[in-house]
Symmetry: C2
Subunit: 384 residues, 2 copies
Amino acid sequence: MDNFIFQNPVKILFGRGQTSLISNEIPKNSKVLLTCGGGSIRKNGVYDEVVSAMKGIDLIEFWGIEPNPVYETLMKAVEMARAENVDYLLAVGGGSVVDGTKFISVAIPYKGDPWEIIQKKGEPAVAIPFGCVLTLPATGSEMNRGAVISRRETKEKLAFHNDFAFPKFSVLDPIHTFSLPPKQVANGIVDTFVHVTEQYLTFPVDAAIQDRFSESILCALIEEGPKTLANLTDYNSRANLVWSATMGLNGLIGCGVPQDWVTHQIGHELTAYFGLDHAQTLAVILPNLLWVQRDSKRGKLIQYARRVWNIPQENEDKMIETAIANTKSFFESLGLATHLSKLGAGEDISEIIVNRFQARKLLPMGESKNLTAERIREILKLSI
Amino acid sequence: MDNFIFQNPVKILFGRGQTSLISNEIPKNSKVLLTCGGGSIRKNGVYDEVVSAMKGIDLIEFWGIEPNPVYETLMKAVEMARAENVDYLLAVGGGSVVDGTKFISVAIPYKGDPWEIIQKKGEPAVAIPFGCVLTLPATGSEMNRGAVISRRETKEKLAFHNDFAFPKFSVLDPIHTFSLPPKQVANGIVDTFVHVTEQYLTFPVDAAIQDRFSESILCALIEEGPKTLANLTDYNSRANLVWSATMGLNGLIGCGVPQDWVTHQIGHELTAYFGLDHAQTLAVILPNLLWVQRDSKRGKLIQYARRVWNIPQENEDKMIETAIANTKSFFESLGLATHLSKLGAGEDISEIIVNRFQARKLLPMGESKNLTAERIREILKLSI
């Protein structure tokens, strides 16, 4: 096991009706800015529930944080918060609203252009505290210190990580996610699955707990994913999905182990190029990345085959092949495509992506630094 | 899954040499009181390592916190800290030193008799912050908000739980535990195993992640326990044991599930009566408690048989019997006895324990409130 430092102070309020507790979490006499997305929370009752729980608290609202939240939009919320002397933020929505709110939180008190924080040219010294009422299980943002922000002007999409980006509290009420379209639920399952494999399918470092916790989440997704899609208002399976998504990216399973975020890195480029859903790009790339990297990921792939897919001990090459095929079938069973051509994106963009990675001096990539330009071309060729 | 609230802000510094980082965690110009046990840290080099990492920090020392830390001793540390205007504590030792330091931390600024905190007659309003350098993996105290304190005068042994009792940071360097006698290592494995079963072997509430995380820790202990005992300086197996012990009692696996702490409750009485090691009492009681409670724990016992012990699906009564027998054999394989008579404690103390539980109005006990006086007598009869 590698050395690690772990800390995650987020307070989780999990379950039916826990929104009613949020006023206890917000300091008395706060002026709160509610940050929201496009309006689905008005239809499913979450907005009303939040406003009723905040009775007596001075509240203003900012609407319109989009999927893949955009700097230009977020800066309008920053201006509003500054003008109104807001001292607490409450994100109500999915991962994009939470990510956007993380940026607003550090941007409000920042002296200078807040984009510097994203560019890692400036460090925030303070932040406006914020809480979160989650409506979509997928990104894990409700219990981590990261966010991804896009800038229209420069066509950039960049991540930032900061201890200020931990929510003070997050309400995870599975019922808040019942009205999601099945496609978004399936995307959340795949997004979580890939978050876990990126911290798990690398090379073994004898980290027994981290490995088994990762396998736990993968097994839970394989078991609970189809159940929650078959019955969109089944409380227990949805609760298990919500908690899986949170545990998949709150830092715990990544403690002291190598990580490989290349599926996400290639996925971000495919989203930028073809406008595909984030989870959809992951479903296409992951199985092919595992296949191309099956040499350096061999030990973990065999463990994955045995412990996650219950593949009996046999020829090890065959075990790996079956485990990767099962992964692909699982994504397909949830309704996601595993080939770009099925998404109307048949064009070979290998060179474009390879060139971008080269320009950013990222190659060779991956936990073993063996993912060369040639191997990335191979992954993308298999993905068409 | 039941509703839950979870928060654990402890910063973990895990791995080789992480003690060198502690001066970053302690505010500048602090006056620190080092709290220690009986002196083993002087022999194994941990004391020297800590003092060298604290160079330049104003440091005084309190020695002599005993196993099952005692109020009377701890109050001497409180007096010293008050007289010397200490504003940070650093516990260096095992669970008893950490538990004792938790009490010292809230007692120093407490107006009135600090024993009121333990008796739940008074709430601490502030506390002196503290960190911890752990030398014994077992209690989980390094990452939780609980402590058990004894009082000689009144022969009481009571637990207290408080958010102030979270360490600010804990250093978990597996090497610090290498010099432990094998018996203490084995005790730590059993203590952790039982902490997990007490949060896991109850009745099913469809909590997929909590169940699988619990099974993860149990499987890791079964696999890594014998390895670490076979080679007391093997870094990886010891690291896995240390992280298992921490994860077994930091609140995570207990989120949203029923719990059954009766094995610990009976165990505490056996320790008080016969002076037996804490883990030793748990090894005796757990298998018999599971057997007597096999009706109401049925669903979980079958799952435990299948997932932890890999017992093939067959007659379910037989599966349960085998799983409990395996549990017993596992404890015995680590060198612990599973019968009181083998510990020289053959006397039937059923009535004494039942009377104590009755006097405290605790009966019936357990997650299903079906552990009657009669069933406790049965457990103890099987335990002789």
